[in-house]
C-alpha cells in the first residue's frame, strides 16, 4: 500500500523544487507568508516551553518540528471554515486567527483559553483522543445542509487512528458526503508508543480506501506540499466531492508534554538528525535562497516583529486578572439550576461574602 500512497513532496529536504508543476504557483508573497507563519509558530512554541520551565504557565504541549504540517494546512482554510485542533495544534489555530494571549491563557489553566476571537470557528483543543473527528464531520454536515461552501478541518495524531471515533468520523463523513478534511499528523509516536505498535498498516492514508474517500500522503515537513494538497482537498470538499484523509509525515522534536521524558522511549539523537536534515523552517529558507527570494534583513526584521508580538501577548496573559470562581458555576447551563445556585451561595457564604 505504501506504493499506492507515495509521500508527495514539492520541495525536498534540501529545499530544492522537485515538482516543477508548482513553480508558477509558488509566488514570492505566498512563500514569504508561509515562512513568516512558521517562524511565528516556532518562536511561540519555544516561548511556551520556557514559560512552563519558569513556572509562569502549567504543563505545556510543544509542537516544534510540526510547523509545516500545521501552518500549511491552516493556510488552506478560509474565513468561516471550521477548525478542530488537538492540544498540540496551536500552530494551526494561531495561523487560523486564534489569539496568542488566549492560547497562552489556556496553558495557564484559564477557561478563557478555550474561547476563540469573535467569528473564528475554532473548537477548544480536543483532549480525549479522536473525539473531535465527529464534531468536524457534524459541523461540515451542517454547512452542507445550510447550502454554504464552507468546510471543516480536523487535526489528529497517529495514535488517534486506533480509537473507535476515528472510524465513526470517517464513516459518517463518507456516508453523508460532507465537506471535511481529516488532517492527520503522523509524528510516529503516541506519547511513547511507536506507530509500529499502533497499527500493522504501513500508511494511515490507505485507511481512506475502506471508506471510499480520497486519501493522500504528503511530506508533512514540506509546507508547500501540505498547503497545496490541503487546498485541493478543501476545494474538493467545497464542490461537494466529500471528505479527504490527509496523512502528513512529520516529527515532534521534543517531549509529548513538558511533563514527559522522551529519553524513556526513543533516541533523542533522531530529533537532532532530523533537525539537521529537513527541518521544515530551514527547508523554506533554503528554497528561498535557491530561488533568490531570501533577504537576510527581512528575516531579521520579521523575527523581531514576531518576538515583540509574542512578548506583548505574554505581558497581556500575565496582566489578565485571576478569574472569579463564579465563572465555574455560571456557564454550566444557560441558567443555573437550583443545586448549582445553592452550591454557589454556600461557597460564597463559606468565604464570608
Amino acid at each position: 500500500m505504501q506504493n499506492e500512497f507515495p509521500m508527495l513532496q514539492i520541495i525536498d529536504q534540501n529545499g530544492v523544487l522537485v515538482d516543477e508543476s508548482y513553480r508558477s504557483l509558488l509566488t514570492e508573497s505566498l512563500v514569504k507568508e508561509l515562512y513568516v507563519k512558521m517562524v511565528r509558530a516556532r518562536l511561540f512554541d519555544r516561548k511556551g516551553v520556557n514559560l512552563q520551565r519558569q513556572g509562569r504557565i502549567g504543563t505545556y504541549v510543544p509542537f516544534e518540528g510540526q510547523e509545516a504540517a500545521q501552518i500549511g494546512s491552516a493556510m488552506a482554510m478560509q474565513e468561516g471554515d471550521w477548525m478542530f485542533p488537538t492540544y498540540r495544534d496551536h500552530g494551526a489555530t494561531l495561523t487560523f486567527g486564534h489569539s496568542l494571549k488566549n492560547v497562552l491563557l489556556y496553558w495557564k489553566g484559564r477557561q478563557i483559553g478555550c474561547v476563540p476571537p469573535a467569528g473564528k470557528n475554532i473548537f477548544p483543543p480536543a483532549v480525549p483522543i479522536a473525539s473531535q473527528l465527529l464534531h468536524a464531520t457534524g459541523t461540515a454536515w451542517a454547512e452542507k445542509l445550510k447550502g454554504t461552501d464552507r468546510a471543516s478541518i480536523v487535526y489528529f495524531g497517529d495514535g488517534a487512528t486506533s480509537e473507535g471515533d476515528f472510524h465513526e468520523g470517517l464513516n459518517f463523513a463518507s456516508v453523508f458526503n460532507v465537506p471535511v478534511v481529516f488532517f492527520n499528523q503522523n509524528n510516529g509516536f503516541a506519547i511513547s508508543v511507536p506507530i509500529a505498535k499502533q497499527m500493522k498498516a504501513k500508511t494511515i492514508a490507505q485507511k481512506s480506501v475502506g471508506y471510499d474517500i480520497e486519501g493522500v500522503r504528503v511530506d508533512g515537513n514540506d509546507v508547500f506540499a501540505v498547503y497545496f494538497h490541503t487546498l485541493k482537498a478543501v476545494e474538493n470538499a467545497r464542490k461537494g466531492n466529500g471528505p479527504t484523509l490527509i496523512e502528513a509525515m512529520t516529527w515532534r522534536y521534543g517531549a509529548h508534554t513538558t511533563a514527559d521524558d522522551p529519553s524513556k522511549y526513543r533516541d533523542q539523537e533522531e530529533s537532532v538528525r532530523r533537525r539537521e536534515s529537513g527541518d521544515p523552517v530551514t527547508r523554506v529558507e533554503l528554497y528561498m535562497k535557491h530561488e533568490n527570494m531570501w533577504d537576510e534583513q527581512f528575516a531579521n526584521e520579521i523575527e523581531q516583529t514576531i518576538m515583540k508580538e509574542i512578548e506583548e501577548a505574554v505581558a497581556k496573559m500575565e496582566q489578565e486578572p485571576a478569574p472569579h470562581y463564579s465563572e465555574m458555576f455560571d456557564y454550566v447551563f444557560a441558567e443555573n439550576p437550583w443545586p448549582i445556585e445553592e452550591q454557589k451561595r454556600a461557597y460564597a457564604g463559606m468565604r464570608g461574602e
Binding site: Y87, G109, Q111, P128, S162, G164, V193, M328, P337, I340
Partner: protein, 331 residues
C-alpha cells in the same frame, strides 16, 4: 494470607508497582496492559521496570483505544487471564463505558456464572495537581452505581498494595482508583511480598466521639487536618477512610455514626448523585434514631472540574471540612 517479611518505605505509586510486581511474579496469568505502560513505564511511572522484569508478553503497550483495552481485557479475563488494564486518567475512561457497563459488569449474571470477568481497571483520578483539562475527573459514583462492579480507592501506600493484590485476586471486575494528588505526597512502610487488604472494609484513621467524617482517597489528609483543628475547639472527630465505595462497609459506618450521632461526608466528586447520597441513605437505614444533627456534605460542585486556575475553588479544603464539623456540632 500473608507471606510478607520486612518492609520498605514507599510512595503510593511505588506501592502500586510493587503490588503489580508481586502478583505478576506469583501468577503467570496476570497481564498488565494499557497506553504507555511498558516502554515508558506509565505516565506516572506506576508500571516502571515491569517490562524489563516480565517482558512484552506480560506488560503490553496497546494501541490508543480505551474501549479496545477494556473490551479485549474482558475476553482475556473470560479465557484464563487476570488482566490489569490501565486507564491513563479516569477522565479518559468514557470511550470504555459501553464495554464496562454492558459487558464487564454483567457477563457473570448473563451466563449464570458460566463466564466470569476477573479483571482490574486501574485509573488515576482527581484534581489538585494543576493537570490539563479533563485530567482531573472524579466520577467514581458512575461506576459504584453499575451493578456488577466493585469500586475501591486506597488513600495510602500500605492499602494501595494490599488492596491491589486483593483486587487482582477478586473473581469479579474491580475498578481500582488511584488518587494522583497523593501518589507521591508521603512515604510509608510497606511490607515486602504478598499481603492483602480485604475489599469492602473501611478503616478508622482517627478515633473520636462527637462527629464522624466519612471520606476516601485524595481527601483523607484534609479530613485528618480538619479533625485535628476541630479538636483544638474541643470537638472529638472520628475520621473513616471508606476504602471501598462498592460495597460500602456498612457495619463500620453504622457503628461509628451510632457512637457519634453526627456525620460529615467529604468527597471531591460532584454532589448530585455522588457517594454522599448513598452514604446518607445508609445512615438513614441503619442509624436514623441515633442522629443528633442532619448529615453535612462537603463535596465538589455540580460543575465540570474547572481548569486548574479555579480548581482550588472546586476542591473541598480543610477549612470547608472544619466549617461542616462546626455546623453539625452547633446544630
Amino acid at each position: 494470607m500473608t507471606t510478607a517479611v520486612g518492609t520498605k518505605k514507599m510512595t503510593l505509586v511505588q506501592a502500586v508497582t510493587d503490588g503489580l510486581r508481586t502478583m505478576m511474579k506469583e501468577h503467570d496469568n496476570v497481564l498488565v496492559l494499557g497506553e504507555d505502560v511498558a516502554q515508558n513505564g506509565g505516565v506516572f511511572r506506576a508500571t516502571d521496570g515491569l517490562l524489563e522484569e516480565f517482558g512484552d508478553q506480560r506488560i503490553i503497550d496497546t494501541p490508543l483505544a480505551e474501549s479496545g483495552i477494556i473490551g479485549t481485557s474482558i475476553g482475556l479475563a473470560m479465557n484464563g487471564f487476570r488482566p490489569v488494564a490501565e486507564m491513563q486518567f479516569l477522565g479518559f475512561i468514557y470511550p470504555a463505558f459501553n464495554q464496562i457497563m454492558t459487558h464487564a459488569t454483567r457477563i457473570r449474571a448473563r451466563t449464570l456464572g458460566a463466564f466470569t470477568v476477573p479483571m482490574v481497571i486501574r485509573a488515576p483520578y482527581g484534581a489538585g495537581v494543576r493537570a490539563p483539562e479533563i485530567h482531573s475527573d472524579s466520577v467514581e459514583a458512575l461506576f459504584a452505581h453499575m451493578p456488577g462492579m466493585k469500586v475501591v480507592v486506597p488513600s495510602n501506600a500500605y492499602d494501595a498494595k494490599g488492596m491491589l493484590i486483593a483486587s487482582i485476586e477478586d473473581p469479579d471486575p474491580v475498578l481500582f482508583l488511584e488518587p494522583m494528588r497523593v501518589y507521591r505526597s508521603t512515604k510509608m512502610d510497606v511490607p515486602e511480598g504478598k499481603y492483602t487488604v480485604e475489599l469492602g472494609k473501611g478503616s478508622i484513621l482517627r478515633e473520636g466521639s462527637d462527629v464522624t467524617v466519612l471520606t476516601y482517597g485524595s481527601l483523607t489528609e484534609q479530613c485528618v487536618k480538619a479533625a485535628e483543628a476541630a479538636s483544638e475547639k474541643g470537638y472529638s472527630v472520628e475520621v473513616i477512610d471508606l476504602r471501598s465505595l462498592y460495597p460500602l462497609d456498612k457495619e463500620l459506618i453504622a457503628a461509628s455514626v451510632q457512637k457519634t450521632g453526627r456525620a460529615v461526608i467529604v468527597h471531591e466528586a460532584p454532589q448530585t448523585g455522588g457517594l454522599c447520597d448513598t452514604l446518607i441513605s445508609l445512615i438513614n437505614d441503619t442509624s436514623f434514631f441515633y442522629m443528633k444533627a442532619p448529615v453535612e456534605k462537603v463535596t465538589g460542585h455540580d460543575t465540570p472540574v474547572p481548569m486548574f486556575a479555579l480548581e482550588d475553588h472546586y476542591l473541598p479544603t480543610s477549612e470547608r471540612i472544619q466549617a461542616a464539623i462546626v455546623s453539625v456540632m452547633d446544630c
